[in-house]
Point group: C2
Chain length 208, copies 2
């Protein structure tokens, strides 16, 4: 996996999307420069997620951006998505690898000790950096201090997640991460496309 | 799939197992003649289910009985289980087939209209036949009348499920099913092995 796909990684959380159209939002953030799209629908039937993911595939492919499925390795394989993102309650990355030999596998470790479970993963999602209302079970914020601790404990690429907004992007990037996972900051923006463009510009300036 | 695996199909529901040891229970019902074991752990982390399923595999293999995983196609593939059982909220059988080209795929249709979704399945789970406390979202009992309606509407092998006990086995078998899914009747029995032997004897007498 090329770690540049983590730079401006959009988590399309259907609970955050609310009544907006997830397909239109995806188009807007892709045009704005999103480097990856993660489809997250914690409480949705897999049948519904399968339909949506299938609709998103041609969009992401047109932008040469990976589609990552949250939690469901079987769904990712069935629709030929590019990867999965897993947490401590999901299939461990080493087992997921048997289903997705070529896919991108992301893992959110519960803490430093849980890094052992990341065996088989291609990248780590680390957070929540700041308080977030996006994910009910996200846990206590770890701050950039906690982020730096995890960053130092692994050689895997790291994407920071949780409460990331235009005002704290610079601070997070200074922690040595490979990218930022963005959710509400673009999905709930008055103009998601413009919000995405702005974040992408800030992030690229830092890396380039 | 040989439909005889459906004859005395034990649903190892971890909520029903309670404090008993699921491995010992599985050994007891296998020795008693169970024709298939379905591992169901609706609220359990996949990591825990993966450990348990891996422990069950050598037991079922020693009895030449399939291990079917409830809901999680990825887990089934990752641990090389024999199949999955899916419901209306899970990955549709036709998509699951892409993950498990050789596996047994069971499907519980919500009703006759939902039989269309069974495309790709090897067998159907139909029920609940009677009232059951095993599965909170099982829905209203369909009775043997509803069972016969579904039985007539499909050519797939059918296993009846829900509230099946020694006292109603004969009535269910007369509906033309290929087998019975048993849960509390054996898992909660004072002596699960003897309870299983008794049910297997009754069922085999009917078929032989």
């Amino acid at each position: 996996m090329n770690s540049t796909v983590l730079r401006c990684y959009v988590v399309l959380d259907l609970a955050v999307v609310g009544p907006r159209c997830p397909v239109e939002l995806t188009q807007a953030v892709l045009r704005g420069g999103a480097s990856a799209i993660q489809l997250r629908g914690k409480d949705r039937p897999l049948r519904e997620l399968a339909h949506l993911a299938t609709a998103l595939l041609p969009l992401v492919r047109a932008h040469n951006v990976p589609l990552i499925i949250n939690d469901y390795v079987d769904l990712a394989r069935a629709i030929d998505a590019d990867g999965v993102h897993l947490g401590a309650h999901d299939l461990p990355p080493a087992l997921a690898r048997r289903c997705l030999p070529q896919g991108i596998i992301g893992y959110s470790p519960a803490d430093c000790a849980d890094l052992l479970s990341s065996l088989g993963a291609d990248y780590l999602g680390v957070g929540p950096i700041y308080a977030t209302s996006t994910k009910a079970d996200a846990g206590q914020p770890i701050g950039t201090q906690g982020l730096q601790t995890l960053r130092a404990a692994t050689e895997l690429p790291v994407v920071a997640i949780g409460g990331i907004t235009p005002t704290n992007i610079a601070e997070v990037l200074r922690s040595g991460v490979d990218g930022l996972a963005i959710c509400s900051s673009v999905l709930c923006a008055a103009d998601p496309h413009t919000a995405m463009c702005s974040i992408v510009s800030t992030v690229n300036t830092y890396f380039d």
